[in-house]
């Protein structure tokens, strides 16, 4: 799939042929975006990849326009944002698209990640694809955090102060690192300036990693809800028009949700204190990050020692890099993994609960609950993933995607139970086939 010229691409136009023999852009597009074989049983959870691409471009375009009207200076930043909101033509629209867009971006990326974990998309042969995704997530978080500082409101300033101060927990070099991040002895103009520079830079880095992510995807091909590898062309449809139309439909539905927030409740997801200009002398009653960082903030505060909290918070992200090797199961999809499925949904509940707890004051019962949530978060990856894989008896896995599709046709296949009932008895053998097993991936 990675080579060029092997397809039966025969352009009619002489000009296209001339260019293509020198730089095979047209064959590349034909192979990777038109003919590219895609499992025909993908459900709508697989549309978040396209939605994320749309979000990245939306954020970059709206962000570049905002940067044309913004000034990264502590004396001006807050005024400039209000200038955009009040005086720039459609400035309110561009800014709300960007501010709400950050939330929508994270909503989509969390759905995308949850889908990957549920259907075992991180397992062989997709480990590198998965790890590149984790890199994108971490870059997104850094970008979002620095972007939130730019309006220079109270939460911008105090959020930046709290988060940058975390690095002071590092033994020996901590305080030096923090001063280096700040460019001084407190969050101030140099900090705002460099955050703006990096906030403008990082999306392009993300775009680069996204290209690698898609490249890796096009080497292994898509996973699918059964977790069974593609066996033959019967299992697949060409990317265009089948997947393009489906992605586009899902994208427009997503835009409806996005538009509802932008046009009707644009400030719902933001903190009101960020409409107060930053004041280093007045600390807000509660300093809370944006919702998409709350689960990690809850983990940070659940640990009594500062260094411990910082380590746990970063570990909660870094651990994602190694889950391809923590999961010992031979079966990819949670559809056929009754125990893992329960563990997964409890993990989802733990993440949402941690998100809620991150917004509560760090006291009393909230701290206890945050500790339980944090413990489960790590238990899920470090203990349950390896152990369940060893002891769980998976349900029979279908022989192929097309078989699963035919068996599952009667039921609502987006509801796992119904689909399971349809494919419980695989034709031919009652054995659990090693397919979908990371140990023996088949090269198509």
């Amino acid at each position: 799939m990675s080579g060029h010229g092997s397809s039966n691409f025969q352009p009619n136009s002489k000009v296209v042929r001339w260019i293509d023999s020198r730089l095979p852009l047209f064959s590349l597009a034909n192979e990777q975006a038109i003919e590219f074989p895609t499992p025909k049983n993908l459900n709508y959870m697989w549309t978040f990849g396209a939605i994320l691409m749309f979000m990245l471009i939306t954020m970059m375009v709206s962000g570049i326009v905002l940067a044309m009207h913004y000034a990264a200076n502590t004396e001006l930043a807050f005024d400039r944002v209000e200038h955009i909101m009040r005086n720039v033509n459609f400035g309110w629209l561009i800014r709300y698209i960007h501010a709400v867009g950050a939330s929508m971006f994270f909503f989509a990326v969390y759905m995308h990640i949850a889908r990957g974990i549920y259907y075992g998309s991180y397992k062989a042969p997709r480990e590198v694809l998965w790890m590149l995704g984790v890199v994108i997530l971490i870059l997104m978080m850094a970008t979002a955090f620095m972007g939130y500082v730019l309006p220079w409101g109270q939460m911008s300033f105090w959020g930046a102060t709290v988060i940058t101060n975390l690095f002071s927990a590092i033994p020996l070099v901590g305080p030096t690192i923090v001063e280096w991040l700040w460019g001084g002895f407190a969050v101030d103009n140099p900090t705002l300036n460099r955050f703006f520079a990096l906030h403008y830079l990082l999306p392009f880095v993300i775009l680069g990693v996204v290209i690698l992510h898609i490249w890796a995807l096009h080497i292994s091909g898509n996973n699918n809800p059964t977790g069974v590898s593609v066996k033959s062309s019967k299992d697949t449809v060409p990317f265009h028009p089948y997947i393009t139309i489906k992605d586009l439909f899902a994208m427009v539905l997503f835009m409806l949700l996005y538009a509802y927030f932008v046009f009707y409740i644009p400030n719902y997801l933001g903190h009101p204190d960020n409409y107060i200009q930053a004041d280093p002398l007045v600390t807000p009653a509660h300093i809370v990050p944006e919702w998409y960082l709350l689960p990690f903030y809850a983990m940070l505060r659940a640990i009594p020692s500062k260094l411990g909290g910082v380590v746990v918070m970063f570990a909660s992200l870094l651990i994602l890099f190694v889950i391809p090797w923590l999961d010992t199961s031979r079966v990819r999809s949670a559809k056929y993994r009754p125990m893992f499925k329960i563990a997964f949904w409890v993990w989802v509940v733990a993440c949402i609960a941690l998100g809620w707890l991150g917004a509560q004051p760090a006291e009393g019962i909230y701290v206890l609950l945050a500790r339980i949530g944090t413990a489960y978060y790590f238990l899920f990856f470090l203990i349950l993933m390896p152990v369940i894989g060893l002891f769980e008896t998976p349900k029979p896995v279908p022989n192929s995607i097309s078989e699963a599709v035919l068996k599952g046709k009667s039921g609502l296949s987006h509801e796992d139970e119904a689909a399971l009932r349809g494919s419980e008895k695989p034709a031919g053998s009652g054995d659990v086939r090693p397919d979908g097993a990371p140990a023996a991936p088949k090269k198509d």
């Binding site: 309110w92 629209l93 439909f249 427009v252 538009a259 409740i265 409409y275 097309s402």
Partner: protein, 289 residues
């Protein structure tokens, strides 16, 4: 595979469910950021600018501006509002002459182009509403140490906690008026402190006030304080409503434009989604998936 069933009608509720799920998930997580803390009960008001077709009530904004000019503006600045904004057709919509007249009643300290010396002149449409104090230190000194906050954004800048499940319901109910509701409740919230509460010198008891129960601002409104020429009742209740509406406009002057634009965008997206769905169904009709 949301639409594997052949019954096209069944798709709509599933899409509705997906949309519901999307709003719910965002509401759960997003609203959680605001869910902390105990909240005094703040009654929802019936605002003309709430809801999908919300618009500002021109007469109400003009009354609200009158209150700002005659009372609030003596202590509170309105930095981001220029006099030209008063002619905003979806806002207070004063005529240009009226706005010029209002502006000319304010004095701006400018620098002379000839001599470079400061001099006073009447404000014009392009000037912003001048602050009542030269700087925040002067403002604090004149108000017992508390700086009266600027009013341009205050209707969006108060973290009124809605608690659970209010913050989730709000996302579906399209409720984004907690700012003006809070200001309205605050202005009516002054009361005598309970017998067991020690009075704080030079502060006033108001349990609605977010930053503790004692506020430095004395009760600013009294019945009959401002003359309304359009027959609107001259009560503290009415004054509170009018100034809150005015402050919402000051904080979000493009609200009407936003909602009108949004409605068209949503209709377009909904029709587009339907067409895409039908196209998709036709393309996939012979493929088992």
């Amino acid at each position: 595979m949301l639409e594997t069933t052949k019954i096209g009608g069944a798709v709509v509720p599933r899409i509705a469910r997906a949309a519901f799920g999307g709003v719910l998930a965002l509401a759960l997580l997003g609203g959680a950021a605001q869910a902390a803390g105990e909240a005094p009960h703040i009654e929802k008001q019936d605002w003309s600018f709430s809801g999908i077709f919300g618009r500002y009530d021109r007469a109400q904004l003009q009354r609200g501006f009158k209150i700002y000019r005659e009372s609030c503006g003596l202590c509170h600045s309105l930095d981001y509002i220029a006099f030209r904004n008063l002619t905003d057709p979806s806002g207070p919509a004063f005529s240009e002459e009226a706005a010029k007249q209002i502006a000319s009643e304010y004095t701006i300290t400018d620098i002379s182009n000839e001599t470079g010396q400061p001099f006073d002149r009447p404000a014009t449409l392009t000037d912003h509403v001048p602050s009542p104090y030269p700087n925040s230190t002067a403002a604090a000194a004149a108000n017992g140490g508390a700086v009266p906050p600027d009013f341009s954004l205050i209707a969006k800048a108060r973290a009124v906690h809605r608690g659970f499940p209010g913050f989730i319901v709000d996302a579906f109910a399209n409720y984004a008026e907690n700012g003006p509701d809070y200001i309205h409740a605050l202005l009516l919230g002054y009361e005598d402190p309970p017998a067991d509460v020690e009075p704080v010198p030079a502060k006033f008891y108001n349990p609605v006030f977010l930053a503790g129960n004692w506020i430095a601002m004395p009760p600013p409104l009294q019945d009959g304080q401002f003359e309304y020429t359009d027959g609107t009742p001259e009560t503290v209740e009415q004054y509170s409503t009018d100034i809150s509406a005015f402050l919402m406009w000051a904080a979000e002057p493009h609200l009407v434009e936003r909602k009108e634009f949004g409605f068209r965008a949503m209709i377009f997206l909904a029709v587009f989604a339907l067409l895409l769905y039908l196209t998709k169904r036709k393309l996939w009709r012979n493929i088992a998936h």
